[in-house]
Symmetry: C2
């Protein structure tokens, strides 16, 4: 494998164990896949409601999408070349009665039955903004003011099993997407970088903004990452959760014309169309809050509870 192995710290594993003991995380038997307590979900949903309210106030339209997308769409974006190690593709049984019987027997003995599986044409959602671009393109040319979509807290998949409770194989990414002129999009990203910082610091978290890069794969990936940093295309909000380094809890991505040209999103006039997105990691923010304010949300500072607007 050409991808870097992420180190997991003792503090991260200790936090995971405390969260499991408190019932907030329900282990599935596979690293990075957890169920949640009602209290955890109440916090996560309150956070999502808060983010969506901020977006609606600023003119966002809400659209929601499922956790799978057409493979053809993933093929079109370059994701399978740039981040192949993270993508999950969906296979299903392709055979007759006899094959089903053999698959069933092997499965109950926990033996390999993958030879009976074939690609289905869908893949797991790699980023919650992906289905927004073809949906925008379907509508025809953008209005003069461009478009602002709130895709809500949607499930995304990354194949990177880890014992760090903040590194999930499947998690909620709350994506806001802006499309419009290059200037509109750049201003929007700057505005939301500040709004995101205010939101997290308002909840008592020590957040700071930094430039970042995507976890591109292999040797070619190191070049892509260096480019992305040099052009300041990706910013992240870093927040302490557990371990020596803070964790990225939100990212602000400027795509230039990558998605608008891939999906043929056209503008009102002659200006090129650019896009940007902002993704909040719901679970990471809830983990940061639990790590900061304690595992019992009823005992959090009243002002944090009020600002989150959690029902209690």
């Amino acid at each position: 494998m050409g991808s870097e192995v992420r180190a997991v710290s003792a503090e991260q594993v200790a936090l995971r164990d405390r969260l499991i003991d408190a019932g907030h995380l329900i282990p599935s038997g596979v690293d990075g896949v957890y169920g949640h307590s009602a209290a955890f979900e109440d916090l996560r949903e309150a956070l999502g409601t808060r983010i969506s309210a901020e977006a609606r106030t600023r003119g966002a339209t809400r659209l929601t999408f499922p956790p799978v997308l057409p493979v053809r769409q993933l093929e079109a974006t370059g994701y399978l070349a740039n981040m192949p190690h993270l993508a999950g593709t969906v296979f299903s049984f392709d055979g007759d009665d006899a094959a089903a019987a053999v698959q069933g027997t092997r499965a109950s003995a926990h033996e390999d039955w993958s030879e009976f599986q074939a690609p289905t044409g869908v893949a797991l959602m790699p980023a919650a903004c992906y289905p927004v671009y073809p949906a925008l393109a379907r509508r025809g040319p953008l209005p003069a003011a461009g478009a602002f979509i709130d895709a809500g807290g949607a499930w995304v998949f990354r194949h990177e099993p880890s014992t760090d409770p903040a590194r999930r194989q499947i998690f909620h990414q709350h994506e806001l997407v802006r499309a419009g002129t290059p200037e509109t999009v750049l201003q929007w990203r700057a505005q939301w970088a500040q709004l995101g910082l205010d939101l997290l610091t308002g909840l008592g978290l020590e957040a700071r903004l930094d430039r970042a890069n995507d976890p591109f794969f292999g040797r070619r990936g190191r070049l892509l990452a260096a480019n992305q940093r040099a052009q300041e295309l990706k910013l992240e909000l870093l927040v302490p959760i557990a371990g020596p380094e803070p964790t990225a809890c939100a990212s602000f991505n400027h795509h230039l014309d990558h998605f608008s040209s891939t999906f043929a999103i056209t503008g009102a006039g002659d200006d090129p169309v650019h896009t940007a997105c902002l993704g909040f990691g719901h679970e990471r923010i809830v983990l940061a809050l639990l790590a900061r304010h304690g595992l019992d949300p009823d005992r959090w500072p009243a002002e944090v509870q009020d600002r989150l607007g959690a029902p209690r």
Copy 2:
């Protein structure tokens, strides 16, 4: 393929087209995978809130789970033998820089790159109750009153692409699960069959309860289905959506000791532990409401709006 092909009626396709024109469904390019408008999601969430409130009143504890589960768990339940055609398994890239380059080139040309994909150890959730059983087992012996879990409206996957808008590859199933003595579980199922009927008829839908069977695969499946019907293990609430036949919008399943023995859920005393589950199909119920009351929820009868408790 040994599975039956489901016929799709002209009315079903016409409803899908009307929903797309109205913006409620956003086609993805793959049959049975859609995005939703804000209005559709508001209705779906209001329905979920209403079901969860009914369950909470009757003592349910809420737990939530992601759209994937360990393959080992799917292997243990017999799903891969009984319904192999519906299961989705997750594969991911397994290779080096050179393989990633070939996969990327083939992907951008929409050619076959499945040879670079290997099983990951997770599968898509086949039914929203599946992760509840090992979660219950982890807690040790059940209390005397058994357990009642609300797993919320969770995403489940079924590999059956269709142009019927009510037959999705991925949709929200709202599962309530009861574990306890055989008598407790049977009474609970009877109680909830009536509550479910009342809920749907209260929303102006013509619902009726009928016995049913799961879509088991192939020749062996026909036997399993006949058994299930003979023992009245599966009941469904049927509601008109589109087409000549009504559509199953909820199902009530009695598992006897299938899950309790598979996952070693033990009871308080010597009585055997049985389980039952009730799954509401969120999208199907919203489709039934739109088909019955019209595509603009603001113009629905006030009493339906009130009973749903939709925010407006």
